[in-house]
Symmetry: C2
Subunit: 222 residues, 2 copies
DNA sequence: AACTTTATTCAACAAGTGTTTAATTTATTC
DNA sequence: GAATAAATTAAACACTTGTTGAATAAAGTT
């Protein structure tokens, strides 16, 4: 019988769950503390303001996630030396830890990714929170891709990263949209199936800009 | 001097603006009616509940947008006959109207797209509202792609559509993230630059699945 | 002009908001 | 075991929430 988590973690877990489905403004502190089975005043006592609870929720998992992803990137760069790392391995290093946690990390991780998806697409918070927690990692990945595609233009790579980010976060948002659309053919819970398609999809997209040509000569050959 | 819009439109415009930056729960009816310079009771009088205001905001622009996009798709299919339409033209038909409105349609359209981006990545609403307003259109596009890539697997195409949807909505979310990340190199306001990259990026991604092979032989040739 | 429908205003409602304060319990340290 | 610190509780704060009802004004119709 597992021992009960600490009060702080109970609050964070409850907040994570509720923020995931209703967003920051859609959740009250009393809802959080009720879900955590804890007195409302303890939220302020342990974390301060409501925004501080949210930041604590973000920080808790971002740290372990970024450590894993950077380790995977460094590993695939080291294996390829003295050549640059293969593109699809870089993309995989970027996405693999996310997939793994989302499928095997339990409901808490699913909730966390759903929040990330919302934040990433939020006009105000996307430019602040995502920048704060994930930009150092993003810069490392883009640098690795630049090394693999030496003739590519930086702007092109930034935009491709942006497309990857959008495709990825929507995937982890937990929406039933793609399941509805495909009439049950594509259950969003099957994240391994997604990953097997996402990596080649994104890899091919990046390669379009490998030669750095500004004119899109790829449009006329299908 | 343009005459003042009707009370209903004033409320919808104010709601659209505020929902775009703070989401459904982050905006109160009093904030909306203050922004619209109108009595709070008029919101209930004209629309009913708060959710009805939100639905009215969604519906207003979705109708004109979908009409335009379907017309463009039909047009490019007709021009290509008796051959299937070229893939990049289908993708362009899917995205072009969005780009046009986002750049030349004024602030109201920008606000609308920011809301769409949030909804699309919302775990509850994404599977309901997006399905409701955009699934008929999505099915037409996927059918057109299927005709162009006859050997592709339906699941693959649905997932590719999903990636397109994520990349597209993040682009229109109005975040400053990619601008921060690129240190000013990629201003998100330059949506034409985005479009010129998005279409070839997505087109290349779809083509990976043109032959329908389940094994990703594309991974070993870079 | 009289009447009816539509639109707008003002006031109020009960319930919920984030946060703080002081009192009390539990845990830690000497 | 007494003194100190940390954690928890209950109550209250002033304020905002969505929505409604009755009263008033404007517009439309015979």
């Amino acid at each position: 019988m597992a021992k009960q988590p600490s009060t702080k973690d109970r609050i964070l877990n409850a907040a994570e769950k509720l923020f995931a489905t209703r967003g920051f403004y859609g959740v009250s502190i009393r809802q959080i503390t009720t879900e955590a089975d804890v007195d409302p005043a303890l939220a302020s006592y342990h974390f301060g303001k409501k925004k501080d609870i949210f930041n604590a929720v973000m920080l808790r998992r971002a740290e372990v996630l970024n450590r894993e992803r950077i380790a995977m990137l460094d590993d695939c760069i080291r294996r390829a030396k003295p050549n640059p790392a293969p593109l699809h391995e870089i993309i995989d290093a970027f996405t693999h830890a996310l997939l793994n946690r989302a499928t095997q990390g339990g409901q808490g991780w699913k909730n966390y990714f759903a929040i990330i998806a919302q934040i990433n697409n939020h006009p105000e918070l996307g430019g602040i929170i995502m920048t704060q927690y994930f930009d150092p990692l993003a810069k490392k990945f883009i640098a690795a891709i630049q090394a693999t595609l030496p003739d590519s233009q930086p702007e092109d790579l930034y935009w491709c990263y942006h497309f990857l980010s959008g495709a990825l976060t929507l995937t982890f948002s937990g929406t039933e949209r793609i399941n509805n659309l495909s009439e049950g053919l594509c259950p969003p819970s099957d994240l391994y199936a997604v990953h097997d398609r996402l990596v080649p999809f994104i890899t091919a997209g990046f390669k379009v800009f490998a030669n750095g040509s500004k004119i899109n000569d790829c449009n006329n050959n299908d």
